[in-house]
Homo-oligomer: 445 residues x 2
Amino acid sequence: MDSGSDTAHDSGVKRLRVALLGCGSVGSQVARLLHEQAGDLEARVGAPVELVGVAVRRLDAPREVDLPTELLTTDAEALVRRDDVDLVVEVIGGIEPARSLILAALEHGASVVTANKALLAEDGSTLFAAAEKADRDLYYEAAVAGAIPIIRPLRESLAGDRVTRVLGIVNGTTNFILDKMDTTGAGFTETLEEAQALGYAEADPTADIEGFDAAAKAAILASLAFHTRVTAADVHREGIVDISASDIAGARDMGCVVKLLAICELVEGDHGTAVSARVHPAMIPRSHPLASVREAYNAVFVESEAAGQLMFYGPGAGGAPTASAVLGDLVTAARNRLSRVRGVGESAYAQLPVLSMGETTTRYHVQIDVDDRTGVLAAVAQVFAEHEVSIQTVRQEGRGVDAQLVVVSHRASDAALAATVEALRAKEYVHDVSSVMRVEGESDQ
Amino acid sequence: MDSGSDTAHDSGVKRLRVALLGCGSVGSQVARLLHEQAGDLEARVGAPVELVGVAVRRLDAPREVDLPTELLTTDAEALVRRDDVDLVVEVIGGIEPARSLILAALEHGASVVTANKALLAEDGSTLFAAAEKADRDLYYEAAVAGAIPIIRPLRESLAGDRVTRVLGIVNGTTNFILDKMDTTGAGFTETLEEAQALGYAEADPTADIEGFDAAAKAAILASLAFHTRVTAADVHREGIVDISASDIAGARDMGCVVKLLAICELVEGDHGTAVSARVHPAMIPRSHPLASVREAYNAVFVESEAAGQLMFYGPGAGGAPTASAVLGDLVTAARNRLSRVRGVGESAYAQLPVLSMGETTTRYHVQIDVDDRTGVLAAVAQVFAEHEVSIQTVRQEGRGVDAQLVVVSHRASDAALAATVEALRAKEYVHDVSSVMRVEGESDQ
């Protein structure tokens, strides 16, 4: 450490040099924090942490942060291959060129911090293998639920426990929309427009409202929680575009609220232990801790064998919150570089099978518009029984043309529940199955 | 690693050997998890983790877990000095002999995991110095808020951010009592008796209801959050014994709930940055995330410059939840032993001054029984003004002998607020200052 040399790959590392890929809303906040917190970062890492290059698409684009011109480059390929770079922060997003850049950075001896949920959910195993081969860290706290520490708690704090379920509100846009629908009684389309006007939803909101974003995060959470490789393709995905004001009102009548949940479960079945990972709207009781997660906030609720029920809550997006998560990882990766060690890598030792949605057990809340005559309740109950779906409660509402049955089932396979609804739709005494919603977060599972 | 030797202090560590000090409700759960999760622990650590000794007070005491007799010993001193022990778990509690045992364990080359909040809050610096000197880990996630991961997030996840405030419900007994008082309208004494009958409060509840337990945790949280050595003696402490049904009702009228809070703040003042750490009952708005923390649950609410508002929620006590936190630390310490590295140690580099309670700024909610005549409101307002305390709202309630003023102040020094209340009590038009409560968790700070 006393030698005059301080380049990254020499034996005496004295400064940690950071290359930043991308300088949008997250990247510019990462650059700002590296500058403003320089003194604290040095004290916490044990050496100065210095930004040495920023890869951008256009040199003259407007930015939230003032950067010395000499740091900027459009040649990300060359930046990640620089010999003096110890740490690479990737906040470009998307599959390519992010993947190639991360792989090149690891190969060239840099540790990597990324916020790229899509890439991790699609091809995490390639990245993790490259990190292991290179003996470098690959951290990604910012990829799930923004600033909320959830990756590290799952990987480290709960490493001595057995996680059995993860329920997450991991997409702020959809939570904002569902929360607004709940408080105003408005429909989906007008609420989406309001969210767009307020900047909570993008002009093309597909990734959020169709559940793609949440499904990527579910894959990452399930992989970590169950030590099993789960990709986005393994995650059953339903968005919120079909949620109506009537669905929300029906939930309210049940003392529930509708949330888009990422649900990762350990399932003990006849053929041993398996994993289920899915994203869909679900009713949860208003007394559940997740029910009070309002507006665009995120939260992840974790159930484990010994710890019981934990919840992690905070802002799920935004430049500064996401940058906070990136910097936390960067400090750990920097300390590890200084100590010449690698932190805990990913593990998929359990290699549990991933269930299809049909095999997953869920509960249904079904509103059925029916003929107002004697025997209909019994006939509907019979349809459930024929599909071996046990009914928890059935409630009759309205009279005449407004007659309605509201059925809540016990847990059954999703396939059996779907078949039950299909069969109900074919009955002449059923006018319409007006709402079908899964129920989560109750003790009767 | 190929040599036949597998003792702890040889070069080829193949098994991690654990000594457990204490086998009460937490210790017996630690022993159970080490046994039941052995396969998963081995996969996650990279080597088997083996319990080699358990120090107990009495060999024949009844225990929650069956342990092989040969593991038990009453000689804790000898156990922590055994050459084949890599990791020591201390769950005895109290200052001595816990401190001597931990110091001996570190000196003899073992890493230590402890749940001992009292010891850490009183003499953490001695322990941390010993760990650094020995180049071993000293972890203590279980010391604050049971199973909730809060130590690791503060130390690592938020290492690139600037924490400005920590508000914690960190004592389950007092939260259970205050929650019951809020839902039933009952007084403190009868609710304490109910809590004792239900096992939520101990026969001697002093440590909980007088705030000693919460103050120890506040010292630990403030030290970590602000990189400054804060001891239990630095923490201003008020318990909940004087909270009346009328205080709770007054909070309800304000849309608030009363919680015993551990409050750690970074304070920017005329003389630079300082730290404030205190434990006292406070009113928080029912819309605040901490307000929904019911029964004996704990939660820690963290505000930071970049991440914004985060909350960590879960069971704050209990054998299995606390054991989950111990095991998480144990896995990290075990991995570090295998890699021959030491994890992040404690830092107090900031060494900020700790403010006295009088210098701390707070807000007061004051109920004043007054004469029902013109001019009293103005006179009361004048008393606040004379002490340079700005009034946010004042509300007149009742008539005649029930006439009451409810004043909520803006932030002012606690000393000025206390002096204001003192002066009010001396006025002939004031019959009584019937409730004085600090207000936290609102945007106007």
